[in-house]
């Protein structure tokens, strides 16, 4: 049973680093900021970017044709 989706809140201009770990191979795509991370089981992967513009961006796992949101990143204005 997945719990409510997590939301990571940052401020505009922040440097953001997220370390992802996964128990399966998958591809995560951060919409709006347009970043993709490819995960393999057990190996942590760091996604780093500067939050240049405010907004609420979904990070989605692409399962076949279906996009499933796993995390939201909220970039708040300064």
């Amino acid at each position: 049973m997945p719990k409510a989706l997590e939301t990571l809140k940052v401020t505009e201009g922040d440097r953001v680093e997220i370390v992802f770990t996964s128990d399966a191979a998958m591809e995560l795509h951060l919409h709006g900021i347009d970043k993709t991370v490819r995960l393999t089981p057990g190996a942590p992967v760091t996604l780093a970017f500067t939050a240049n513009h405010a907004g609420r961006f979904p990070m989605e796992s692409h399962v076949g044709k279906r996009h499933v949101s796993v995390l939201y990143i909220e970039v708040h204005p300064q």
């Binding site: 049973m1 997945p2 409510a4 989706l5 997590e6 939301t7 990571l8 940052v10 401020t11 505009e12 201009g13 922040d14 440097r15 953001v16 680093e17 997220i18 370390v19 992802f20 770990t21 996964s22 128990d23 399966a24 998958m26 995560l28 919409h31 709006g32 995960l39 500067t50 240049n52 513009h53 405010a54 907004g55 609420r56 961006f57 979904p58 989605e60 796992s61 399962v63 044709k65 279906r66 996009h67 499933v68 949101s69 796993v70 995390l71 939201y72 909220e74 970039v75 708040h76 204005p77």
Partner: protein, 490 residues
């Protein structure tokens, strides 16, 4: 660029979680809920709490200010200004509109089938449906001149020697054809996402054209426009708010929203049409709130419904769509009942000289500004961001790789829309729409109830209703946007 502090975070995803979320959706139907959703994705931040409180507080306070002003001075009268309109203005609008109508159809049937590579979906949903509503509400009813169905029928009708309508329009039918067609349209837009696929959009436009022209041929063009042509009704209603009004070859200036003070109450069917229009706009926002998702999860887990829903899903029917369809009908039904109750209370408080049903018809128009305000807040960033896709699409409308104007490579720039701008615009629009609604209702009350005291007392229930509606609009904006299918798992 200044680099601010570094935010470090750890996040672990398990395949089980993703599978559960994904399969949850799968169990709810075979069709992908999200496959095409890059079209129309919104990245709006939820309204911060302090701004929500400020907006809500302003709405309540200003309601009383409007009342107090009315108590002293009565209604406001606008200046009468008008200019003559060249007949070429209408012809030019019609020519552009017909060109776009045929371009959309050609793109639907012969263009690239990918949503974002084809002119039609973005033009129809973003520029026309959202953009035209803005123009109608903030400028005036250009649709009257632009309506391609009316224009094409007019030409064919003249060519055929202007045959008389086949039959008189049955009075009892009222605006019900427009209500039924609008609910179908809203379902296509908000539930079925049918319009995102150009190959589906084309036939839908043709079917609607056939219905419209049949209606016009049978009952007469203007009769069908008034009672059955959905977009004529939608844009007419929104444009009653607008500062400009064109009629008899003249363009008149009036105070915004004063066009919503009418000489006649809305009929029952027209009242229902207005309420369905209001809820459809709010519905789109509600489907993206966490509350809606939680409700879906509850629905999914409740013993009573889990079985039947699974049964429907196992037959290859998209359960999420069934649930949304139900909500699309249930929500307006609830609104009609609530509004009916408040209209009845208003009629009683006004002294009982006016029946509840007639009061409902009189006050229906005064709700339009709140709907316009919500529409503006909800779609402003969408129009500004998704609308930018028009640049490449104009250069390459069929998605064949053309570059007619050298703009084919332009991609939407998100930074064009600032979060703070969206927030302030949203709250300002909603509070202003609310004030206009309260003002209109007062104006109407003065007209239909005997004496100022009675009129003011009658407005207590109406004001409570409007404050409630405004609060709901603000609440939806304060909710983080989540995709409407996520969280359903079986």
């Amino acid at each position: 660029m200044t680099v601010g502090p570094v935010t470090m975070s750890r996040f672990s995803v398990s395949a089980m979680t993703v599978l559960a979320l994904g399969l949850g959706l799968a169990a709810f139907g075979p069709a992908s809920d999200a496959a095409a959703h890059a079209f129309g994705k919104r990245y709006d931040l939820p309204l911060p709490l302090w701004l929500w409180v400020a907006g809500a507080g302003a709405a309540v306070a200003l309601s009383f200010v409007v009342s107090a002003v009315f108590l002293k001075h009565g209604g406001a009268r606008g200046p009468e200004v008008s200019v003559r309109l060249s007949p070429w203005a209408g012809r030019a609008v019609r020519a552009v509109s017909l060109f776009l109508f045929f371009l959309v159809l050609a793109a639907c049937f012969f263009g690239n089938p990918e949503t974002l590579d084809n002119f039609a979906p973005t033009f129809v949903w973003v520029i026309w449906w959202v953009g035209f509503a803005f123009i109608a509400a903030l400028f005036g009813n250009i649709w009257d001149a632009a309506n391609p169905w009316a224009a094409l029928f007019g030409y064919a009708h003249a060519w055929a020697g202007r045959p008389a309508p086949r039959m008189a329009y049955p009075g009892g039918l009222g605006h019900w054809p427009a209500v039924a067609l609008f609910i179908t349209f809203a379902w296509m837009e908000l539930v079925a996402d049918a319009g995102e696929d150009p190959r589906a959009l084309g036939p839908l436009i043709l079917v609607y054209s056939a219905i419209t022209w049949t209606g016009m041929a049978v009952f007469g063009r203007d009769v069908w426009l008034r009672h059955g042509e959905v977009f004529h009704n939608v844009f007419w209603l929104l444009a009653r708010f607008a500062p400009f009004e064109g009629s008899d070859g003249r363009l008149r200036l009036r105070l915004p929203s004063t066009g919503l003070v009418t000489e006649q109450p809305a009929s029952l069917s027209q009242t229902v049409f207005i309420l369905v229009l209001l809820t459809s706009v709010t519905f789109d926002g509600i489907l993206e709130t966490p509350a809606w998702r939680d409700w879906l999860v509850w629905l999914n887990e409740t013993r009573l419904l889990h079985g039947p829903l699974e049964e429907i899903g196992s037959r290859g029917i998209n359960v999420l769509r069934v649930v949304k369809s139900f909500a699309l009908v249930a929500l307006p039904a609830v609104i009609v009942l609530v509004y009916g109750l408040f209209a009845w209370l208003t009629a009683r408080a006004g002294g009982g000289g006016v029946s509840g049903l007639r009061a409902a018809g009189w006050f229906a128009f005064s709700l339009v500004p709140i709907a316009i305000a919500y529409h503006l807040s909800h779609y402003y960033s969408y129009l500004m961001i998704a609308g930018q896709n028009m640049a490449p699409l104009l250069s390459d409308p069929f998605g064949f790789g053309w570059d007619l104007f050298g703009t084919a490579a332009i991609r939407p720039d998100f930074t064009l829309v600032k979060a703070k701008t969206v927030w302030f615009l949203s709250v300002t629009a909603i509070v202003a729409g609310h004030v206009a609604a309260v003002y209109l209702a007062h104006e109407t009350a003065l007209k239909i109830f005997p004496g100022r005291r009675r009129a003011l007392i009658s407005q207590i229930p109406m004001m409570i209703l409007m404050i409630g509606y405004t609060m709901i609009s603000l609440w939806v904006l304060s909710q983080p946007i989540v995709s409407s299918g996520a969280g359903m798992n079986m």
